[in-house]
Structure formats: C-alpha cells, structure tokens
C-alpha cells in the first residue's frame, strides 16, 4: 500500500522538470536499419514463396472490384486477408486492362487502368520508386510480426518487398496511354471508397491490337 502512495508522490515530484535538448540537423533519430536480417528474408522468400503465393492466390481483378463494390468486409472475408490487429483488408489480384492515365512524373508514379472497357480507371498500379503501403507483406501469411524484433524491422521488410517488386519493372519510355496491360500483385483497402493501388509483382505492357 505504501508503494502506491509513494509512487504517487514520486510521480508528482518529477512532473515539472523540462529541459531542452537540441540536436544538430541531420542527426537521425531512427534506429539503425536492420538491413541484413530483412535482406536475407527477402532473398530467401521473394521468389521461392512470395511470387508463387501471389500467382496461386490472385483473384481476377474484375471479380474483386465487383465484390468490394458489394461491401468491403464481406469481400475481405471471402477473398482477402487481414492481420490480427484488424485494419486493412489485403487482396491478391490479377487482371488485364487498358492504361487510361499515367503519372510518371511523381516519385509515387502510377498507371491508371480500366478493366471493363468503359474508359474510366478501376484501379491504379504503383510503379515506384515511392510505393505506398505494405500489401505484399500483409497479404502473405508467412511474414509474421512476432518473428521480427520490432516495428522498424517489420516495416523494413515491407519496404524491401515493395522495392524488389518495382525495381524489376521494365517500362517502355514515352506515352503509355491506350496500351494493354496485364498484371499480378497485391493491394490493401481500409475503406471500400479508397482507390485500389496495386503493388505489381508482374506487369506486362503491349500496344493495343
């Protein structure tokens, strides 16, 4: 009992002190990048497990967008995956469509893809080098947070997977509008009204017939 009271007194006594510690510009606050461990996991799993997992698990993108249109949670339960803590639904998708828009100027470059021929974009394909999200990692049950030291390491894994996926993309220069595109990849959705942004593990572009 005295402990709790004492604790209260101690607590009260330390509240008012404040000091200013200034850091030189550029002195990073982040922990050292756990690149080696993560690099090893990516080397061991990207081709051996992740690519087959995407290829085998990918659902046709038109089927997915239709299901999501009916309700994200139901679509997620049936066709997606979600972490124990809840949050976004992660989906594996494949499909073909037509490029109806492209932003290759932004560091977060994207293609806008029409799947159903109405000339309106149904989803985006991320081209990098800035790739948003952690869908490749989170759509794959063999990447488990408990196996990693902390959030930084687990996040580094997601980023390394994104980089591995988009670095491998070979895109033709110039205008991509009107080209046919075939893709496989993963995306995450928190709300049915959010845009679908696929991280591609496979992407092929060709001139429209």
């Amino acid at each position: 009992m005295t402990r709790a009271l004492l604790a209260g007194l101690l607590a009260a006594s330390v509240l008012c002190g404040c000091k200013i510690v200034q850091k030189a510009p550029g002195a990073g606050a982040g922990a050292a990048a756990p690149a080696d461990m993560v690099g090893q996991v990516v080397a061991d799993t990207y081709e051996a497990r992740l690519l087959p997992h995407v290829a085998q698990g990918a659902v046709d993108a038109r089927e997915l967008t239709a299901a999501i249109g009916q309700g994200l949670d139901a679509a997620g339960e049936a066709l997606g995956a979600r972490a124990a803590g809840g949050g976004a639904w992660n989906f594996l998708a494949k499909g073909e469509g037509t490029v109806v828009g492209a932003d290759r100027e932004s560091r977060a470059a994207v293609l806008e893809v029409d799947l159903d021929g109405d000339r309106a974009a149904d989803l985006q394909i991320q081209l990098g080098p800035v790739v948003k999200g952690t869908a490749l990692r989170d759509a794959s049950p063999f990447y488990v947070f408990t196996d990693f030291k902390d959030q930084i390491e687990f996040a580094a894994l997601a980023r390394a997977l994104n980089a591995r996926a988009t670095e491998a993309l070979a895109l033709p220069e110039g205008d991509l509008l009107g080209k046919r595109v075939a893709f496989e990849g993963a995306f995450a959705l928190r709300s049915g009204s959010d845009p679908i942004q696929v991280v591609p593990t496979r992407l092929a572009l060709e001139d429209a017939p």
């Binding site: 604790a7 002195a27 809840g86 948003k132 408990t146 930084i152 928190r190």
Partner: protein, 314 residues
C-alpha cells in the same frame, strides 16, 4: 498529478491486513492497468478504455501510472503480484527495461497484455498490441509531402529518444519524404514530446530558417507547440502535421491551423487488450499472434469533426 484515487483506495483496501479485498467478493478478479502519466490525454484515454472494458466484463481494476520510470514500473509490478492480480494491462516504461518485470509477473502466474509500445522480446507477454506507428507515420508523411507540393524546406520535431516510437515515426516519415529529392530537411530537433519545448525549438528553427514551408512532428503536443510559435511569428502559411489524433489538434485542424494528424486508436486498443486478457483467462489462449499491429488513420479537415478522445465515430 493524477495517480487515480481509485488506485490509492484500491491499494488501501487490499493492503490492510486481515481485510478481504473488496474485489474478491463479487468480481472475476483484479486487472491492474499501468500506463504513463495521464497528463497526456492519450494515456488517459488508454487507461479509461481499459478500465471501462474490464469493469464491463466483471473485473475489479487498479489503475496505476509509472511516469516512464522503469524503477517505478517495477515496483508497480510487485504491487500487482502482491495483490494477486489476474492480469496486467501495460503501456510500458522501456522496451528493454520492461522485460524483467513482465517475466516476473509471468513467473507468478500473471499474464501481461501490452498496448501502445513494444518490448524487445517475444514470448514474455501474452499479447503486444501496438499502433502501427510506421504505417501511421507514412500516412502522415504522404499527406505532408502532398501538402508541400513535393518540394520545399521543412523541419522535423522528434520525440523522446528513449521511446522507440520516436524512432519508428521518424523512420516512417523519412522512408516517404526522403524519396522526394526536392524536399529538404533544414532542421531536425527533439522536443521530447513536449508542447513548451516545441514552442521554443520552433522559434529558433524559424529564426535560422525563415524560408521554411513545413513542419512534421512526432506527436500532437509538439505540433501544438510548433503551431503556437508559427502563429506568434505570423507564419500561419507553414504546413504542420502531427501524430496521435488529440482533441487539441482536431480543433486546430477544424479552425484551419494544423493541417493533419494521424490517429492512434488508443481507446479501442486498450479495450482490445482487455478482451484478449479475458479470453486468455477464460480459455487459456487468445487465439491470436502475440504481436499485433493496429492501423492508424489519417485525420484531415475532411474527417476531423468525427474525432473524439482518440476514436473516430463511424
């Protein structure tokens, strides 16, 4: 200081020799809830969320604060063990320093359920439910870069270095921002999560870097301090983005001040930890992975009006 009266009364009730603890009569047992100081409303929301849920489920509660002092936290664990707690809900006082007391409780048959902050070992606590600080920081950084038009000088305010969340958020910010070559960080300083420190730090950053266009902050209290300094200097053109989802920053966003923050669902997270504790005590397992990430949510002028006490109305 608001170490809760409940905590002190609880300690009195249980500690008095020969008196049967009040909670032993008609409850499922005692859940001890330990967090940092409630002076930060974030931690109060956590404690309130856990306390309310535990009572709903029929437990007695003891709410304690460790003030980020590992020694004090260790003593509070001894208190929990001495009082025969059924479970401990903890927002810990140090990723390394917390391992030993959690192990001590485990050895005494008391499972711990962690929220908000991770520890460096797995297999000691039953659950570690943490906000996905990295994902949240990336959300905040993406919005920050967008608001900055992908270019310009900016400053970063970093949290307390001993708190791993400070480093994780900074990494998340930079993993996005550093990929934009026209974004230039002209200052990176800690303000130790403190509003008053952030005010002073922001004043000096502004003097040295009058051309600054944006400030990205590791939490909302520092964002509030920075915004106050910017307002005082007539620089309300500067884009400020925070992290936490506090009511203060919500109000600033709605008034056209701070532009965005990232909500950590503190209240829901604490309730989830209690639910898992209850399931573990009832079934012997939570049925879930130990480490769980809870997504954060971007808060802007579009949805700020739905934010209340670290929860978004659906």
């Amino acid at each position: 200081m608001n170490i809760s009266r409940r905590a002190v009364l609880g300690a009195l009730a249980v500690g008095a020799t020969g008196v049967v603890p009040a909670w032993a009569q008609d409850s499922k047992g005692l859940i001890v809830i330990i967090t940092p100081s409630h002076d930060n409303p974030f931690f109060k929301a956590e404690a309130d969320g856990a306390d309310a849920r535990a009572r709903e489920l029929g437990y007695a509660t003891l709410v304690l604060v460790h003030d980020d002092d590992p020694n004090k936290q260790s003593e509070l664990f001894d208190t929990a063990i001495a009082q025969g707690a059924k479970a401990i809900i903890l927002d810990n006082a140090g990723a390394d320093a917390s391992v030993a007391p959690i192990q001590r409780a485990k050895d005494a048959g008391i499972p711990s359920f962690l929220i908000d902050r991770e520890i460096t070992q797995s297999g000691v606590a039953v659950s570690q439910i943490v906000s996905n600080n990295y994902q949240g920081a990336q959300l905040g950084a993406e919005e920050f870069v967008r608001l900055m038009g992908e270019a310009g000088d900016y400053a970063e305010l970093v949290g307390k270095e001993s708190d791993t969340n400070a480093g994780i958020r900074s990494s998340g910010y930079h993993d996005i921002i550093d990929q934009y070559p026209d974004m230039t960080m002209v200052a990176q300083q800690t303000a130790n999560w403190s509003q008053t420190e952030a005010y002073t730090v922001m004043e000096s950053i502004l003097q040295a870097n009058p051309g600054i266009k944006g400030v990205i902050s590791g939490n909302d209290t520092m964002a509030m301090g920075a915004w106050a300094a910017l307002e005082a200097a007539g620089r309300t053109d500067v884009v400020v983005v925070g992290f936490d989802g506090s009511n203060d920053v919500r109000d600033s966003i709605l008034a056209g001040g701070i532009k965005a923050t990232v909500l950590q669902p503190a209240f829901a997270q604490a309730q989830m930890a209690v639910d898992q504790a209850d399931r573990f005590l009832t079934d012997g397992s939570t049925g879930l992975e130990e480490k769980q990430l809870m997504d954060c949510i971007l808060v802007t002028a579009d949805n700020a009006d739905q934010l209340e006490t670290f929860a978004l109305a659906s």
